[in-house]
Amino acid sequence: MEKTKVSQESTVRRGEISLTRQRIIGGLFILAAIFVYFVLAKPTAIDTKTTFGTNINDRAIQIPDWVFNSKISLEIIAGLCLGLGVFQITRGFRKITNTVIAGVGVLLVLGFLIWGAAGSSISITGMLALMVVRSVPITIGAISGLISERAGITNIAIEGMMVASALTSAMAGSIFGLWWGVVAALLTGGALAMVHGWLSIKYKVDQIISGTMINIFATGITSYIYIKFLQVSKLNQPGFFKPYQIPLLYKIPIIGPIFFDHNLYVYVMYLLVIVLTIALYKTKWGLRHRAVGEHPKAADTLGINVFKMRYFACLLCGMIAGFAGSYFSLGSVGRFEQTMTAGRGFIALAAMIFGNWTPVGSLGAGMLFGFAESLTTKLSLLQFPIPAELLLMLPYIITIVVLAGVVGRSRGPAAAGTPYEKESL
């Protein structure tokens, strides 16, 4: 049983998928088509119109809303899914299968939106702008995670670092001003990450356990301080960063309001993705950083100080996670609340894996999760026939589905999670 499976997998060439998997995926596409046709398109009356709003403010150049017939567009979507499914079963998309899966996912969501907004309107630009905002903590968290894992330190404490930094940034922000809040967040995240690094590099503690310890500690200490000092207090009114429109770019219709009309955090997210992509792949430091995570022994042989690289990676990871944490208090609501991170640190880890441990991939995955969240928010406002409580599960379900490998098995840095032991003379 086991043997045949292995041999079957080994005959499949790189970048391609096995025949069974190909057929299963094709079958799923056809199921999607059937669902869209019978559940969504059938009950919709022939002459209902769906309106997709495109303008959310008057700063960008205005363009007319998109209005179209709900039933016909749903039938087109069903037809497209069916066609893709049939092609997948008979010929197979081979190398671009993952892209096609994503495409069918988008079609399905679009179908839901058209159906949900049949006879009324939905602001598609507003929804996508919200997607960008909601993706911030997930993307930055994922980047923080990948910085750490690329150097061989598994860090599941991003959630804990975020919640702790959200607290300290709210307090420091209230006392000294917003920017000092950001500084406090960087320091908090950095400090917690250094504890993690110290435990996992010096004491070789299992990194998952060390991470869990930091998560429990962070939840405990933030709740403790919140209940003791912050419930009704001037210490918890930092205010938040106001949105800033990037000159010229914000005027582009649709694109402008979606990407270039946000506060500090969104722009720093873009910047982090660009800078870290260059740093990781085009600099000497990046090469060393990745070498330490893939094969620390080889790196050590070439004279790279493995421990130093890993400590630095931890520090960087912590500061980035801390920055992501300050988003919750300084970037969105302007105060600290006990459960405000709501598992975003863990979703960020899923985004990191989905994004294949790269900054650009993390951004894409972060946007996906951000979209799931913004969909949830918008649909619950729309008098949607699905209860809000069930919609709230969506980001978490997507996380599991993504992790379970709709995209196939992913492989992280080889040495992640294993402490490095220098050979002694």
Binding site: Y203, Q207, F217, S223, P387, M393, L403, G417
Partner: protein, 416 residues
């Protein structure tokens, strides 16, 4: 090495031998970890009290005495909340009235009630660790177990308690088992790491219950969403009259711990579980079915946590409401590690945590210290247990002769 040292020191008195043995023992590490955790908690309480700074401002002596007062007040209220007032218990026993004695012992029995879910989740997490899976999802498994038991509790009417109670418990176990099975199955089939999937399952379970209690399972007579009361026939037997909620679930939990101990250490299947947990590749090479063992261990772990939820509903609350963030699942990680993943050890540590948790309520009322200090204590206890070298350095203990085994080995990325 050891032999040389013993022969070179011909006269070793009892105390030096005793000290050496003691400092090598893992029990010492455990006890010192707990003590150090309490010390760190005490320091935190002092640092977070504004009165202390004021007192230090006037004089050093006053500062120290205020610090001492605050810490002793905190921990003594913790003790009173957990065990009851010793003076009150003594007078009650002297008076000989049954009602008075029960009243005085109330906090003690309540602590046992609070320990009960810890027993279940602790055993669940320990079982997972033994099989090499890190079940952080005990929280969600406990909650789906409780809603399933509640559903069984009010749906099946006209049954004798002898059938209804096991049936409802079984429903809880099945729901929890399903919640554990999914991450286990995903781990084996797709390589999705159970740490993340179980946490996601916690959130999914949370919203599922939120939804179920808000709409389909809601008792229409209630303003705040709550399920109907479960029927009398589904109640777990309570041993004492009203205010004391000590119930049969406690003994069910002990039984489960013993059964898991027998399973793990006295059966072939348990041997395979432990073997997979220690070295997956070697077990695979030895012909064990890793897939089945991992998934079954995860499902069993979930089922035990689900039983814990069922026992909470059937013994303590009798109905389910929406506010459910119990924290039992996360606490049980520290608890299982403290017990070194031994089911019988879990009985002791679950009692410790239960008494702490119950005592912390009184502590919050009397000393104004938020109950979350318990989480901080736990974090420090995990820290000291996971890195025994820290404890050894602080207390200058000797290194053990055998290298301490890693508690669990885990990684987020799939290893080939």
């Amino acid at each position: 090495m050891d032999k040389v040292s013993t022969t070179s020191q011909p006269k070793r008195n009892f105390f030096s031998i005793f000290y050496e043995e003691l400092s090598k023992s893992s029990i010492t590490i455990i006890i010192l970890s707990i003590i150090s955790g309490f010390i760190m908690g005490g320091i935190l309480v002092i640092v977070s009290s504004p009165e202390v700074y004021k007192a230090f401002g006037s004089s050093l002596g006053e500062g120290l005495s205020t610090s001492w007062k605050i810490v002793s007040n905190t921990y003594s209220s913790l003790f009173l909340g957990a065990f009851g007032d010793p003076a009150k218990i003594m007078t009650a026993i002297e008076s000989g009235e049954k009602k008075k004695i029960l009243d005085a012992l109330g906090p003690f029995f309540e602590s046992l009630v609070v320990s009960t879910p810890y027993l279940f989740t602790g055993v669940a997490v320990a079982l997972g660790f033994r099989a090499g899976v890190f079940n952080i999802g005990a929280e969600g498994q406990l909650q789906v177990g409780s809603i399933a038991a509640a559903w069984a509790g009010w749906t099946f009417s006209g049954l004798s308690p002898w059938i209804h109670v096991p049936l409802a418990l079984l429903c809880g176990a099945i729901a929890g088992g399903l919640w554990g099975f999914i991450p286990g199955w995903l781990k084996v089939k797709t390589g999705a790491h159970e740490v993340i999937t179980t946490i996601m399952m916690n959130y999914i379970g949370y919203y599922l219950i939120y939804y179920l209690v808000a709409a389909p399972f809601r008792d229409p007579k209630e303003v705040v969403p709550k399920t109907p009361w479960i029927l009398d026939s589904a109640h777990l037997y309570r041993f004492f009259p009203e205010p004391i909620r000590f119930h049969l679930g406690f003994f069910v939990a002990i039984l489960v711990a013993v059964v898991v101990w027998i399973l793990l250490f006295k059966t072939t299947w348990g041997y395979e579980i432990r073997s997979v947990g220690l070295n997956m590749s070697a077990s695979k090479y030895a012909g064990m079915n890793i897939t089945v063992i991992t998934v079954a261990a995860m499902a069993l772990s979930g089922a035990i946590a689900g039983l814990g939820g069922a026992s909470e509903i059937m013994g303590v609350y009798w109905r389910q409401s929406q506010a459910l963030s119990s924290g039992y699942g996360f606490d049980s990680i520290a608890l299982a590690l403290l017990a070194q993943n031994h089911p019988l050890g879990v009985i002791l540590t679950a009692l410790l945590f239960g008494f702490l948790r119950n005592g912390s309520k009184v502590m919050q009322l009397r000393a104004g210290i938020p109950i979350y200090i318990i989480n901080i204590l736990q974090a420090f206890i995990i820290l000291f247990l996971a890195a025994p070298a820290i404890i050894r350095t602080i207390y200058r203990l000797k290194q053990p002769s055998i290298k301490e085994a890693a508690i669990a080995s885990t990684s987020l990325s799939e290893k080939k």
